[in-house]
Amino acid sequence: MGVATLWLSIIVLLPLAALAVTSMENGVAGFIDAVTQPAALATLRITVTVSAIVALINVVMGTIVAWVLVRDDFPGKRFVNATIDLPFALPTIVASIVLLALYGPNSPIGIHLNATPAGLVVALTFVTLPFVVRAVQPVLMEVDREVEQAAHSLGAGPWTTFRRVVLPALTPAMISGAGLAFARAIGEYGSVVLIGGNIPHETQVASQYIQQQIEIDRPVNAAAVSVVLLLISFLSLFVLRLWAGRTQRHEEQDA
């Protein structure tokens, strides 16, 4: 235990402690000052908005993809299933350059998304694709087909059955998948660095802002926004975990 604690402290806790302490170097007022500068507020607003949109897209599309991968059957399904993990395996900078090739200045299809919020959304959707799919897939496999058949036998159509019977079972997984996707999008850097454009007040996300503050030697500003970013990320994971946990408990009580 001692060894494990020491290792985790040196690698993880001490750097984060240094971060937290630095963010408070000029007191609470300094911290608030740092995170309420117009550029900082703007970047946080953009980051959260874009991440929320990305999480929503993931909930809908990720669930559809998971559904097709579990319930549908078509040639090449295994291959499609394997490609879902690609965004996790692919280095983020590669994701960035890949998307830039399609939607950037040299776009072969004439769609230019670089340096636009839409470009951010596409890049973040790309890197967060697996979260919801991989969260929903196993749950969907576990869902008792007989329950659905029972619903059918009671006269429920496919849509009603999905909405009333299947969806409630999937909700916790969808929520936690979306939470992970959101938390990942909040802090993402590599995939947006090339396509995002880094335009303050428009497309500059928090990680880019932090990096910029380090470059112009404002470590306190960088640390303060970093702490806010961490807090948003923890808070979202925490709230979603509570929510998912509550939904699950209801399920178990019903069962």
Partner: protein, 275 residues
């Protein structure tokens, strides 16, 4: 992974619509951009690609990436297994906290990792004294190694811990009653039992170590041939050198490594579920 044993029925209209939506989505999001990069890389044959990834800067970037992997993997394996054992077998206050700390790196933005490392190990940081002693952590290899270890720390633990939990300690106790000392028990019983989980964790660690960008760029001086990893090379070629083709070529190389990882993961997944 999913069952294909059910007999194929004629799909309903709803099924077809959903299938189309899902496949088009994946096609547009994944296949088209990746296909385009591959096309642009290999449009003029394999020669230019080879040339582009064998320049001195590219080779040294490749070597540096491998070096970081070579540092991060053994450390994460040793400490990851110890941490997993502590989490599963240990009975001590604050175990839940330790668990949370292990997962922490997943919730931290790579850029924030970089900033935190700079503030701890940098010239003006808590351990800035090291630099006056001539040990350059930030903007040197040690900083990049620390960043890589930070972001890859959870993988081994995450893969090994559930396996340890599942096998319980019956087998270890049985080995003890048969005369094996703790060291023998570890090598002959525990390690073989977790080998596939551990391998899976190592594969994930390697993939992430090779692919890490944000945390590493923060603590690297970024000099070509000195402190550029493969991912930094992609970035530098595109941004600084305006060498778009070179960036595509390096990205394709990384993508090839990622595909290899994916293949290994799929194979291991099958192995893991069988054992």
């Amino acid at each position: 992974m999913t069952s294909t044993t059910q007999k194929r029925q004629k799909p309903s209209a709803g099924t077809l619509i959903l299938r189309t939506i899902a496949l088009v989505y994946l096609f547009v999001l994944l296949a088209v951009p990746i296909g385009l990069i591959l096309y642009r890389t290999f449009a003029n044959g394999i020669g230019p690609f080879i040339d582009s990834i064998t320049t001195p800067a590219a080779i040294s970037a490749f070597n540096l990436s491998l070096l970081l992997v070579a540092i991060a993997v053994p450390l994460n394996v040793v400490f990851g297994v110890i941490t997993s054992l502590a989490l599963v077998r240990g009975r001590f206050p604050g175990r839940k906290l330790l668990q949370a700390v292990v997962d922490l790196p997943f919730a931290v933005s790579p850029i924030v990792v970089g900033v935190a490392l700079i503030l701890l190990w940098g010239r003006d940081g808590w351990f800035g004294g090291l630099e006056t002693l001539g040990i350059k952590v930030i903007y040197g290899i040690p900083g990049m190694a620390l960043a890589t270890i930070f972001v890859t720390l959870p993988f081994v633990v995450r893969e090994v811990e559930p396996v340890l939990r599942e096998i319980g300690n019956d087998q270890e106790q049985a080995a003890a009653t048969l005369g094996a000392n703790p060291w023998q028990t570890f090598w002959r019983i525990t390690l073989p039992s977790i080998r596939w989980g551990l391998t899976y964790g190592i594969v994930l660690t390697v993939a992430r170590a090779l692919g890490e960008f944000g945390a590493v760029i923060m603590v690297s001086s970024g000099f070509p041939g000195v402190s550029q990893t493969l991912t930094l090379l992609v970035h530098a070629r595109y941004i600084d050198d305006h060498n778009t083709y070179g960036a595509y070529a390096a990205a394709t190389l990384l993508m090839g490594l990622a595909m290899l990882t994916l293949l290994l993961m799929t194979l291991l997944d099958r192995k893991r579920s069988h054992s």
